[in-house]
């Protein structure tokens, strides 16, 4: 179980930059994932072993989910969306390890992820449609809608960050309180709920990011299709 220092100070400094527990955990997660990917993909064969089957199954599932929403450009967004899912799942579950705080229980981390989603939406939208065509969709169906579009962009980014942070932080807080009040084994059902919640929140975060990106890419395409029809 992680510590409750969600707003805790830095563990150490690298120059002027303070390194918090969340960053250290993130590095650990990156190291584990990199090592696991390197080991798992060293000897890929046409006749796969059990580990390769698991890897291919997971990646095929991610690719299938992306294709269901964005059939034409799934390869382009797969690294970003896939990494969101993988990282958030592992980060959420890392809170189950005693002494480790889930990075997603830190608002700075979830805000960084939400900002990345916000930027990626515009990045993929501009790459697909061009700057002028992409920015034009903020004026649809009427320029009056521009403030609402901007407000929508801000609020959905904010909700992304707060939703993930709130769920994970509250779960860890609840588990800590039950542990303090009930004893050592009492929070176990709550930890099981933590696992489910970790998977659900990762899925929701990634799927919302995918929907936002798909909306940015396909908004003008759908408009052109309607005009042709």
């Amino acid at each position: 179980m992680g510590q409750t220092g969600h707003a805790g100070g830095p563990l150490f400094h690298i120059g002027p930059v303070g390194v918090t527990q969340a960053i250290v955990t993130t590095w650990g997660i990156m190291l584990v994932l990199a090592l696991a990917c390197w080991l798992g993909t060293r000897r890929l064969r046409l006749d796969p072993g059990p580990a390769q089957v698991v890897l291919e199954g997971a990646l095929t599932s991610i690719d299938g989910a992306i294709r269901a929403v964005l059939p034409t450009q799934s390869q382009r967004v797969l690294p970003f969306i896939g990494t969101l899912w993988v990282y958030i799942v592992v980060a959420n579950l890392s809170g189950l390890i005693p002494g480790v705080e889930a990075p997603t229980a830190d608002l700075s981390v979830t805000s960084a992820l939400a900002i990345l989603v916000f930027l990626s939406v515009h990045w993929f939208g501009i790459r697909a449609e061009g700057v002028r065509a992409y920015l034009r969709h903020y004026l649809d169906p009427s320029p009056i809608m521009l403030p609402f579009h901007i407000l929508s962009e801000i609020t959905r980014t904010l909700t992304l960050a707060v939703r993930l942070f709130g769920n994970i932080m509250s779960l860890e807080m609840a588990a800590l309180l039950v542990l303090l009040v009930g004893g050592l084994l009492v929070p176990i059902p709550l930890l099981l709920l933590h696992i489910v919640e970790a998977l659900i929140q990762a899925y929701i975060f990634g799927m919302l990011a995918l929907v936002y990106i798909a909306g940015a890419i396909q908004a003008q395409q759908l408009k052109r299709q309607k005009e042709k029809e």
């Binding site: 969600h6 707003a7 830095p10 930059v17 303070g18 390194v19 918090t20 969340a22 960053i23 993130t26 590095w27 997660i29 990156m30 994932l33 990199a34 990917c37 390197w38 798992g40 993909t41 890929l44 064969r45 046409l46 796969p48 390769q52 890897l55 291919e56 990646l59 095929t60 690719d63 797969l78 690294p79 970003f80 896939g82 990494t83 993988v86 990282y87 990075p103 830190d106 608002l107 700075s108 981390v109 805000s111 960084a112 992820l113 900002i115 990345l116 942070f165």
Partner: protein, 249 residues
């Protein structure tokens, strides 16, 4: 719940680095492996499709060949049936001809067998008749019958034709030895004189006769002079009868 900007920035950097790491070490190799497998499966499917097409072509070729074979078989079978029918007809004809020949041969053999059987039956009947007549005449034979036969001989000698007379003369003339007169019973002197006189008259000269007895003659006399023989006895007559009957067949 305050925002730590260093954490915020480092997290963005960390996440982008993680995107690169996963893209480099996870997505790219695994997707490449999946693509290779898809390509391999596609190749296998293409090869199997080619194999299926080839197999289909081979199957059609095989079916056409089988149909050709069936036609050839039917033709050969009908030809064989015709040849068998012709051969059967020839064999039946040959067998029929052979049967006719065998039947004709059997008929000839049967006819010959029947004829020989009839002939043997007739010969047996003649022999039995001769035996029966001989047995009957042997019981009837006696000096009286012999005397009567001698009388008949003397009468017949008087009525012989000129050709027979000439033959008797020729036979008796060249014979210097006395003529042998054989009878079943002893002849009386009168009978002997009558016979000597009749024979001398036939020969045209005096002849000497030697009188013998032989019971096998049953009754009557038999006169011989060298190769010439005159039979007037029952045994000889029965033999003449049998010979005449045999010839009459």
């Amino acid at each position: 719940m305050e925002l730590n900007w260093s954490t915020f920035v480092l997290e963005i950097v960390n996440f982008l680095v993680l995107v690169w790491i996963l893209a480099r070490f996870l997505y790219k190799p695994v997707l490449n492996a999946i693509e290779e497998r898809k390509a391999s499966i596609d190749n296998t499917l293409t090869a199997s499709e080619h194999a299926r097409v080839d197999a289909e072509a081979l199957r059609r070729q095989y079916e056409e060949r089988v149909e050709d074979w069936e036609r050839e078989k039917e033709t050969a079978r009908s030809q064989l049936v015709e040849e068998l029918a012709a051969e059967r007809a020839r064999s039946m004809e040959a067998l029929r001809a052979q049967l006719d020949q065998e039947r004709e041969r059997a008929r000839v053999v049967e006819e010959r067998r029947v004829r020989e059987a009839i002939q043997r039956a007739e010969e047996t009947a003649i022999a039995q008749g001769g035996q029966f007549a001989a047995r009957l005449l042997s019981r009837l034979a006696g000096p009286e019958l012999e005397a009567h036969i001698v009388d008949l001989l003397l009468a017949d000698l008087q009525e012989l034709s000129e050709d027979r007379l000439q033959a008797i003369r020729t036979g008796v003339a060249g014979e210097a030895a006395p003529l042998k007169v054989t009878s079943a019973f002893p002849l009386t002197s009168r009978q002997r004189e009558a016979l000597v006189g009749a024979i001398g008259k036939l020969a045209g000269r005096e002849v000497a006769c030697e009188f013998l007895e032989d019971t096998r003659l049953l009754a009557g006399v038999r006169i011989s002079a060298g190769p010439w023989l005159l039979c007037a006895d029952l045994h000889g007559e029965l033999g003449f009868f049998a010979e005449a009957a045999r010839r009459g067949q």
